[in-house]
Amino acid sequence: MTIDLEATGLSVRYGGNVAVDGVDLAVPTGRMVGMVGANGAGKSTLINALAGWSRGTPVVRGTVRLGGASMDGLSPHRRAAQGLVLVPEGKGIFSELTVMENLALVRPPADTTGRHLFSMEEIHELFPRLAERRHHKGGMLSGGERQMVAVSRALRAAPRVLLLDEPSAGLAPRLVYELLETMRKLVDRGLSLLLVEQNVRATLELVDELYLLERGKVVARGPAAAMKNDPRILEAYLGSLTA
């Protein structure tokens, strides 16, 4: 089993506040890895650090390797160009640009080794609604439609590893499953995927492996089947309170 994305000793702090503390993580080729944890556990900070990106000014330590090549010190647009593609939490598309313009901003790379290419036809097959909406501005779309554009944009960039931070936020429960199942299909075609999700139940159904993050540290990790029975997961996420 080859590792597509690997982080070792990753730490991120904002000023004196340590948000991610010495995390080791690996996304094997063609696998779907899930990451769950409470609000503020550091999930977004971690996934952003993998992409070398942030809206704040964090200090990042540790190493990130994509297919064996070091990403350290590379700016986010360089990492994206090499196939480490992030769909961030929240705003993921441009509201002043039409759906088509948003998607046309990214170009498939010249060198496609290890990359997963998606044609516009395939994207319209995955998200038929986008074909109808292609001349609408991003700001005129519903939350779910925006998420579809954000994910489509990432696919058009021909990812090697796709990083998704809560792609289902704000979606209707039926759509959450639909979107995550679509992602699973892409993984089955060979894509490597790291998924941050609030919906632990849905995540556990679909991922190969799960990480549990607490206060910036990985407190549990393992195959999905085993994690289903982990007492910490059961107690915090699969108890009677969760949907």
Partner: protein, 284 residues
Amino acid sequence: MNILQQLINGLVLGSGYALIAIGWTVLLGAARLVNFAHGQLYMLGAFVAWAVMTKLGVNYFLAVPIAVVALGLLGVGLQGLMLRPVMQQNLTSLMIVTLGFGYVFQGGAARLFGGDPERFVSPLQAAEIRIGEIWFTWQDVLTLVGTLLLFGALWLVLNRTRVGAVVRSVAEDPRLAQLFGINAALVYIGVFVFECAAVALGAGLVAPRSPILTSMGFDEVILTFVVVVLGGIGSVTGSLVAGFGLGLFTALFGALVSSAYTTAAAFFVLLAFLVLRPRGLAAR
């Protein structure tokens, strides 16, 4: 007084305002940046063209493109120096830094070119066209047509090409653009170079109307600020309309009331307008 003549004067004046403002408009709209050295860049554009003409004997039609390229290169250097505050969108720092650049340019130009008024002459300035009582020069025609072509081309590039979409994406959210694989720093440099080159073109076409001075920077562009704000900050079409509107207003006010108070009157109109329509002409 001939009203048709004043309308023509207004259109010519207005095209000059719009042309000088276009760089600022794109900088503000496309990059959400400011540059308070705009007026001194205008002055430099005029003096570079003048110096190339008088010292090197180059003709006007080559001197203006040379000034445009020279200012474009200066833009690369300036943006390189300012890249940090630019990437952080630190407008306060940029305001101060660009004001500082303005003073440096003004002082440098005074040392280099002297403090006396110089005649920056376009051969088209003397080529007059008379139709009955109405007259204008070929320079006026060139300015008007050049402005319309530049605005048209710019509109097409910004709204109909991928490069335009890239610029608009960086304007909206430079951080997000990075995730789309866009090098935002490069886009900022491009926009800044456009501003410098466009103001040099504006100077090349408009400055021959009167003697040029190394201290003229601020006065010559003060009305472009009105154009940029009236047009709805960052709107290309808005600033074209505002430029013509202001030109017509200035010409008619000057002819009907008093030319001594036109700048004050223009700012009064701006104030009144902003009370009614705080986001300018382009606001939806």
